[in-house]
């Protein structure tokens, strides 16, 4: 290596090192996921139902517009019998991980421990656990197994100097959920299978007027019933407290 290239090479290397560490990554014990969180998701949130309003508020049988169902998926959706679900005690099939965040609901987010973020819903009284690090072995259930990681934003690839980023770490929460029990994308029998894989990104934005929104971008892959990944977004408004929290059981209709 020529001497003239040595300096930029070293700086570049140092820059990559700095970027890859994330917050608190300058040696010593790595911070827990809870301590490393680039933003605070905890608290009460309410669905703001604007996008897909009709299907989220008043889903009707056979109304699967927008969902890239394959013929088998449509067949299952068209054959949905809510009475049958009721009789079988399967009222919660529309409240599984791939569908629950689009159900009009309030959400209570807390840290179960330093490694686990918990989301409770009042609609259907569901609980999702986002596990940072190792995930527990379990059989398939409605909420599946969710592996979480912070994705820290980097100021760019390659050489970078301090830019207009303000203080503190920034980034997103990425959650990958698998091992789900088959259920419904909408509470109208539109199916997903046990092969479904759900990838979610959670981001926080703050309005100038003080309102805070949690923005969720979801991609569901399900080779059994979908012809392509189903990509949607939802958003939630931060609540000052538990006002309006009204746990209700799952309902087929």
């Amino acid at each position: 290596m020529s001497r003239s290239l040595l300096v930029p090479f070293l700086v570049l290397a140092a820059s990559f090192t700095a970027h890859s560490q994330g917050p608190g990554g300058r040696g010593g014990t790595p911070p827990t996921p809870r301590a490393a969180a680039p933003f605070d998701m905890t608290g009460y949130w309410v669905s703001v139902v604007n996008e897909d309003w009709r299907w989220r508020m008043f889903p009707n049988k056979g109304d699967y517009a927008g969902i890239p169902l394959n013929p088998e998926g449509r067949k299952v959706a068209d054959a949905w019998d809510p009475a049958k679900d009721d009789a079988a005690g399967e009222q919660c099939k529309g409240y599984g991980a791939p569908g629950i965040m689009r159900v009009p609901s309030r959400f209570h987010i807390t840290w179960q421990d330093d490694q686990t973020l918990k989301i409770e819903t009042d609609a259907g009284r569901q609980v999702r656990m986002f596990h940072f690090g190792s995930t527990p072995a379990s059989s398939a259930d409605l909420q599946g197994v969710s592996k979480a990681e912070w994705e820290f934003a980097r100021p760019g690839v390659g050489f970078a100097i301090a830019g207009d980023r303000g203080g503190g770490p920034v980034g997103s929460l990425k959650v990958t959920t698998t091992n789900v029990r088959p259920g419904y994308l909408r509470r109208n029998g539109v199916p997903y299978s046990g092969n479904a894989k759900l990838t979610e990104y959670y981001d926080l934005v703050r309005e100038a007027n003080g309102v805070t929104y949690l923005v969720l971008t979801s991609t569901l892959e399900d080779p059994t019933y979908l012809t392509q990944p189903w990509i949607t977004a939802a958003h939630f408004k931060k609540q000052a407290d538990a006002t309006g929290w009204n746990p209700t059981p799952c309902s087929v209709r």
Binding site: R3, L6, V7, V11, A14, S15, A18, P38, V46, S47, V48, V49, N50, E51, D52, W53, R54, M57, F58, N60, D63, G66, I67, P68, P104, S105, D122, A123, A153, G156, A160, I161, A162, G163, D164, R165, G166, G167, G168, V170, S172, Y201, D203, V205, R206, E207, A208, N209, V211, Y213, V215, T217, T219, W230, I231, T232, A233, A234, H235, G244
Partner: protein
């Protein structure tokens, strides 16, 4: 030498490291460095398409009539939307309407984002956006510049500034034209501010847009949209739109509209999709989970919905801010070519400057005439040669005396006028309709410096400052002495009080004004305007009061007046009294934008003027 090189590397390394970890506070926007702030953030560049996995039937963001669930429409917006028929799009100016944010994100064509960087510093100056449908051309300034003043023109794209907040690009947009929240009649007013948060994950951009519209929303509307990055750039980027005749022989004062409570299609969407009517009609309550409980009693909720199809509650005043400065200074805005708008002293003043001397249109209220003169002096060292008055109202002619006296009309000096008038050429020549002169002289006490150069029916024309200037009388519009002025090369029309952006037209029936003449005058203006692209740009309009516009705002104003006129006319036909017309609140859908419950020109006064001038039209005011 090897040791020295390594030493330099270590120093450089430690400096860079310190810079990275220290997270120095960013420079404040527009301050600190003339180069602008150093901005870094997610690179959003690329070609995209809308992901229609959500809101799929809203292709082109339209939807069915009365599909407004989840939109926090207020009562006025709902009435506006229910009176809107799809056939409104047959009106010429409605055919190539532009797309506003966030509506534009749901358009089905191609979208492109790219960065513009300073060629010398490589600092991020702007992020650009091009939307194929309606050819939306947005610039999101990243260099910390301020937004324009309130009296500056609006566009469909609006004026946007952005900043990175972590991995989120937050964009604030103001100066947006009236557009659609949803192109099925749900309006977004020109007072709306839109905040958009763009978040990129891989090849997907999620946009959370928050629309804060004091006119038509009861709380800010938030919604997400999704874009998918395209691996190969598409080659379709244009949107050819030209308005054309849709229905031959139709009068230009016809605007399709449903009367309140008479939209025949209001229930189609809710019936077809088994959605409660109360939900389909939108409103803040429809956005939240609790709404499901509110419609358990379907019959009760349906009745509540039907009650929303007619105006109720107290009259509303405008919630759109008046853009006229009130700081006691005169503000100057370059409109186009040689023409500037001066605002801050009553009615707007227009001035054309050039080698022959200034030509003013109106002189304001006269409270700040010294400052008006000072500002004109900065634009031209030549004296004011002509003053045109568009009306005799005091807020238009109040500065006549002082501005006329400060000017000079050298074209009279040494002419035969010099033999007849000792003061020929001393002071500017004031031009106006004969009725302006008459009305000014009739006032007690008479108003100073009325027009001495008058006309009755035909246009006055001048070739002044190397530009054709036409002055057209507009009979029985707001008065019987109105005129408009068209600077043809600059392509600026000064409308006087025939068009304002701040209130219902001040139709002065006592002095010859009429709603029919007002509509006719607005159509006259629209016959002279040309837009540059999709109802943006082209001919500029300086209103009597308010901000600079293009033809779109004039057309919207015309449409509003036609719709209100037709409602009043229908009640007159059924024998309604003035009190009955007033209590029917026939302007309810426009009141949060133009209404007033107090002050010199209330909604009630306007409705009375419409009623009176329809019952007893002036002889010359008949719709063409």
């Amino acid at each position: 030498m090897r040791t020295i090189t390594f030493g330099i590397a270590l120093v450089f390394l430690s400096v860079c490291s310190a810079m990275f970890f220290a997270q120095a506070p960013p420079p404040s926007p527009g301050t600190g460095t003339p180069l602008g702030p150093m901005v870094s953030g997610t690179d959003l560049s690329g070609s995209y398409r809308w992901i229609n996995h959500q809101d799929a039937p809203l292709f082109t963001a339209a939807g069915d009539i009365a599909d407004w669930g989840g939109i926090p429409l207020n009562d006025a917006a709902r009435l506006y939307a229910l009176s809107w028929p799809a056939s409104r799009q047959t009106v010429k100016q409605q055919q190539c309407m532009g797309y506003v944010a966030p509506y534009t994100w749901m358009s089905p064509g191609n979208h492109r984002l790219w960065e513009e960087r300073d060629p010398f510093t490589q600092r991020l100056v702007a992020i650009r956006y091009w939307g194929q449908i309606a050819q939306v051309d947005r610039t999101i300034y990243m260099d910390g510049r301020p937004h324009p003043p309130a009296y500056a023109p609006h566009t469909f794209a609006g004026f946007s500034t952005g900043k990175f907040e972590g991995n989120v690009l937050t964009v604030t947009t103001t100066h947006i034209k009236r557009g659609w929240l949803r192109a099925n009649g749900a309006p977004q007013s020109d007072a709306a501010t839109v905040t958009e948060h763009l978040i990129r994950h891989g090849d997907t951009i999620t946009i959370l847009a928050v629309v804060d519209d004091p006119v038509y929303l009861s709380e800010p509307m938030s919604k997400t949209s999704l874009l998918a990055r395209q691996a190969i750039a598409p080659d379709a980027w244009l949107y050819a739109c030209d308005d054309s005749e849709q229905i031959l022989g139709r009068k230009n004062d016809y605007v399709p509209s449903h009367f309140f409570g008479q939209n025949p299609y209001y229930q189609e969407y809710s019936d077809k999709n088994k959605v409660p009517l109360l939900g389909a009609f939108g409103g803040r309550e429809t956005m939240y989970p609790e709404f499901l409980a509110a419609v358990k009693d379907r019959a009760g909720s349906d009745n509540a919905a039907k009650a929303k199809m007619r105006p109720s509650g107290p009259p509303q005043a405008s919630r759109a801010p008046d853009p006229t400065p009130t700081d006691g200074n005169i503000h100057v805005f370059h409109v186009g070519g040689n023409v500037y708008m001066l605002t801050g002293d009553g009615a707007n003043i227009a001035v054309q400057v050039g080698p022959q001397g200034g030509l003013l249109v109106d002189t304001g209220a006269g409270r700040l005439s010294d400052k008006v003169l000072a500002e004109i002096g900065k634009l031209s060292s030549r004296p004011i040669q002509f003053i045109v008055n568009t009306s005799f109202h005091a807020d238009h002619v109040g500065g006549n005396k002082k501005l006329q006296a400060a000017g000079a009309d050298p074209s009279l000096t040494g002419s035969f006028f010099s033999n007849q008038f000792a003061d020929a050429g001393q002071g500017a020549t004031v031009i106006g309709h004969q009725n302006v002169q008459t009305r000014m002289q009739e006032q007690k006490p008479p108003l100073d410096a009325p027009p001495s150069d008058t006309y009755f029916e035909d246009r006055r024309r001048k070739y002044h400052n190397e530009e054709p200037v036409e002055i057209f009388p507009m009979p029985n519009a707001t008065t019987d002495g109105d005129s408009i002025v068209h600077f043809r090369r600059s392509d600026v029309i000064v409308a006087g009080d025939i068009f304002t952006t701040t209130q219902y037209p001040f139709i002065d029936v006592k002095n010859g004004g009429s709603v029919q003449g007002e509509i006719r005058a607005l159509n006259f203006i629209l016959d002279r305007t040309v837009y540059q692209h999709d109802e943006d740009g082209g001919t500029w309009i300086i209103p009597g009061h308010g901000r600079v516009t293009n033809e779109w705002e004039v057309a919207e104003y015309r449409d509003m007046l036609v719709i209100i006129r037709d409602r009043v006319q229908a009640m007159i036909k059924n024998g309604a009294t003035l009190d009955q017309v007033k209590s029917a609140r026939l302007t309810a859908d426009y009141d949060p934008r133009f209404g007033a419950t107090t002050g010199p020109w209330t909604t009630d006064m306007f409705v009375e003027a419409v009623y009176t001038s329809l019952k007893n039209p002036p002889q010359t005011a008949s719709a063409q």
